[in-house]
């Protein structure tokens, strides 16, 4: 089946190496706190990458990932109450808004047959506009309860962000992958004409992939808000390109139909780990993006070497 393709192994190996080097350089950092902070640096990107993966699997690309996270973040900083059950309700509402944002993309791509790259570029501008409207200046208050529960640890050891990631993986991705919807998403990305000819509801599959992506962007936005503890209409924008990088590092094919979210999550952890490592080494931010770019090129090269070895017959 799809999951038996070990597309994600390379990213796991890279992550282990990166983390190994990180702790080797700084042995004092081996602690629950260090683990938690690594996870927290990775989690927003992991969710953004998961969102991107759903879209990429259908053969599309989502350029509205960053602006959508910014939008959720800006709205969150306005709406979140300081305490109580309202926090949970607002958080769920924000996830629902993420779904709506995804649905907007999905309608344009699946039912109006517009190219994903243009649609999401355009809706990205819209989301950015909403974000700036909601939060013209950085700031706002984020409840301490939200930050501590999402960025803390369960039992002081296990990081909440990682737990959330694992729960979503187990109880959302695995069922979706082995569902009519999941099959359809892979089929559409692999051979849309063939999927259509097989009698699959291809438009519905594409639409729902974007809605799922939007939901994950909602989760990413809420986590980002908890992590940064502030609202900012622009700071989420880096996640557009980083999410694509994470997807590629994770072994999902940008042409669609092959891959999965496990690789993307690992890819996100690789990027975050390397950025932490470079930060720790005192490398200037300029070189950080150079390193990130080189890493991405290596990942793509590794993927094509892998294909060559398999023998393209």
């Amino acid at each position: 089946m799809i999951g038996r393709d070990r597309y994600w192994v390379a990213s796991l190996v890279t992550w282990v190496v990166a983390i190994g080097v990180y702790f080797l350089l700084n042995p004092l950092h081996v602690s629950p706190f260090a683990l938690s902070s690594l996870v927290n640096q990775s989690t927003t990107l992991a969710f953004a990458a998961v969102a991107q993966t759903f879209v990429v699997l259908t053969g599309g690309i989502d350029l509205s990932v960053g602006p959508a996270i910014s939008m959720i973040n800006s709205l969150a900083s306005n709406w979140l109450p300081s305490s109580g059950i309202g926090i949970i309700l607002i958080a769920l509402a924000l996830v629902a808004i993420g779904c709506l944002a995804g649905a907007l993309n999905g309608i344009c791509v699946a039912f109006l047959d517009l190219p994903p790259i243009i649609v999401t570029l355009a809706t990205g501008f819209v989301f950015s506009g909403i974000a700036l409207f909601a939060r013209p200046n950085p700031g706002g208050t984020v409840p301490e309860q939200l930050t501590s529960s999402l960025t803390g640890s369960v039992g002081g050891v296990f990081p909440s962000g990682l737990l959330l990631t694992i729960l979503l993986f187990l109880f959302l991705w695995l069922p979706v992958r082995e569902s009519p919807l999941g099959r359809s998403i892979f089929a559409v990305g692999s051979n849309e004409r063939g999927a259509f000819a097989a009698g699959l509801a291809t438009r519905r599959a594409k639409f729902l992939a974007y809605v799922l992506a939007g939901g994950f962007l909602g989760v990413a936005g809420v986590f980002f808000t908890a992590y940064t503890a502030t609202g900012d209409a622009l700071s989420g924008n880096v996640y557009t390109l980083n999410s694509i990088a994470a997807v590629v590092l994770g072994g999902t094919a940008l042409t669609g139909g092959r891959g999965g979210i496990l690789g993307s999550i690992l890819g996100a952890y690789v990027i975050a780990a390397i950025l932490s490592m470079l930060f720790f080494l005192g490398v200037s931010p300029f070189y950080q993006s150079v390193v990130q770019g080189v890493l991405l090129l290596l990942a793509v090269a590794a993927a094509s070497v892998r294909n060559l070895l398999r023998g393209a017959s």
Binding site: I2, A187, A197, L200, R310
Partner: protein, 511 residues
């Protein structure tokens, strides 16, 4: 270089991962000879062609061209050595014009820099004319042309290189009989000039007609070499199939069918091609569709499957009005489509046998949006056994299977929905003899169990032997309805070429 040997391959071996595609192939090709390369699907013909064409590098073995060691690193090296290959998969650039495609890579230039369009067009025109296929418009993008014309352009591009060895890998698969004849006439002229032609086909009649020498491959090895004098169809089939000699015997004429009408099609028209197609298909009947390329058959099939827009006309299926909006609704009315173009239309190549088989029936295994994988696997395994699909496991990716096996997966998907009507559009294209025989039996069984089968094929023999009745399409209309038992290929061809109007009326009156 004795006996005019132009190409000599010895002990060629090649493995792809665990699959040993070739293990000791010998091939000797002489100047001025049409040399047929035969073998069932998976015998290694295409791999050998790819090696000769510089696409794939052999693991072992030597190749001599004109007595000199030949080690191509790219298709470009092959061309330089005088070898031009027309591969099975079309490799034209869809958005370039006919002329641009033909001269691609060797464009005539003005002052050595700027491409001379007029000269390109002249050259393309000359080549096509010399082949016997003059095309009226050389500036049209090839994407707008029918498959058969694209195949001819593909051959023209190879010919443009003026090769010493021309390799044609199933180059006639999309050509109709008349086009094939013209191509053969050209190949004979080319042979006279001393060019060697290596020719791969699944049609034994073509081999009998044009081949001077024959090499037979089985399981990646050369198992026989014959010349025109020693050629014998039965012997070749035995060589290809190994010990278990495959039955190529002409099909038993099927029984008459019930009179119960399953599908009634009345005056179907679309925007361009269909100009009023009408016919009836009965339960338990195999209704053959014959016609030259581009007479509306593909549009008809797609329209019946909800994938082609109609402007007028009506259909009833099992007594109820039928007008599918898309394949999904066609499938849900009990219609299955088995295309010959498996890789694009039939299958999702990178997904498993299991997934490809159960796409239309997933709702059967899902509860609350989750799939019961065990239940699904049971159904898939049952179909694999029923159709004798040669796959290591239900979870094998279909891309790794041979063409014939892939086609069986298409059939498995069709069967899974338990349809009342099968639309089979050239389902045996590019499939080996053994699998073809199995498919014929299957089609008969399906009809025998009461399903209706609408069957199109580019292979006229196949159509005549399998169908109960036959409709012939010409310029978007049914020009004749024939009882297959009573007709000869000549009768069908006459209608297909739109020549026999008199006869058409007579046949029309007979049910």
């Amino acid at each position: 270089m004795q006996d005019g040997v132009v190409l000599e391959a010895k002990g060629i071996a090649k493995a792809f991962g665990a699959v040993q595609a070739l293990q000791g192939v010998d091939l000797t090709v002489r100047r001025g000879v049409v040399h047929a390369l035969l073998g069932e699907n998976g015998a290694g013909k295409s791999t050998l062609v790819k090696i000769l064409g510089g696409v794939v590098r052999p693991d072992q073995g030597t190749i001599l061209v004109n007595g000199r060691r030949y080690i191509p690193r790219s298709p470009d090296d092959a061309v330089k050595a005088g070898i031009a290959v027309v591969f099975q998969e079309l490799s034209l650039i869809p958005d370039l014009s006919v002329a641009q495609n033909i001269v691609l890579g060797q464009e005539p230039r003005r002052g050595g820099v700027i491409i001379d369009r007029a000269a390109s067009r002249r050259r393309a025109h000359d080549i096509l004319t010399s082949m016997g296929f003059p095309l009226p418009d050389l500036d049209v993008p090839v994407r707008e042309l029918p498959l058969s014309t694209r195949q001819i352009i593909e051959i023209a591009r190879a010919v443009a290189h003026q090769p010493q060895i021309l390799i044609l890998d199933e180059a006639t698969s999309a050509l109709n009989i008349e086009q094939t004849q013209r191509l053969f006439a050209f190949l004979r002229r080319l042979r006279e000039t001393g060019v060697a032609i290596l020719f791969i086909t699944h049609r034994m009649s073509e081999v009998a007609e044009i081949a001077d020498e024959i090499t037979v491959l089985r399981d990646g090895q050369t198992v026989g070499h014959l010349t025109r004098d020693t050629f014998d169809v039965q012997h070749v089939v035995e060589l290809m199939a190994g010990e278990s000699s495959a039955a190529l015997a002409r099909h038993v004429v099927p029984q008459a069918t019930t009179e119960d009408v399953l599908l009634r099609v009345d005056a179907l028209k679309d925007e361009r091609v269909l100009r009023g197609v009408s016919f009836e298909l009965r339960r338990g009947e195999i209704l053959g569709v014959a016609g030259l390329e581009g007479q509306g058959q593909s549009e008809l099939f797609l329209a019946l499957y909800g994938a082609h827009r109609l402007t007028s006309g009506s259909m009833t299926l099992a007594g109820h009005p039928y007008r599918p909006l898309n394949p999904w609704s066609a499938v849900h009315r009990g219609v299955a489509f088995i295309p010959g173009d498996r890789r694009n239309l039939g299958l999702i190549p990178r997904m498993s046998v299991r997934a490809n088989t159960t796409f239309p029936i997933l709702s059967r295994f899902s509860r609350l949006g989750l799939l019961n994988l065990r239940q699904e696997e049971a159904v898939v395994r049952q179909l694999i056994a029923q159709l004798r699909i040669k796959t290591p496991s239900p979870d094998t990716v279909v891309d790794l299977l041979s063409g014939g096996t892939q086609q069986k997966v298409c059939f498995a998907r069709g069967l899974a929905t338990e349809p009342v009507l099968y639309l089979m559009y050239d389902p045996t294209r590019g499939i080996d003899v053994g699998t073809k025989a199995e498919i014929y039996r299957l089609v008969e069984d399906l009809a025998g169990a009461g399903a209706g089968v609408l069957f199109f094929s580019t292979d006229l023999d196949e159509l005549l032997s399998l169908s109960h009745r036959l409709i012939v399409l010409y310029e978007g209309r049914v020009t004749g309805t024939l009882v297959a038992r009573d007709v000869t290929p000549q009768d069908v061809l006459a209608l297909a070429f739109g020549m026999d109007r008199q006869r058409e009326r007579v046949q029309h009156d007979r049910p």
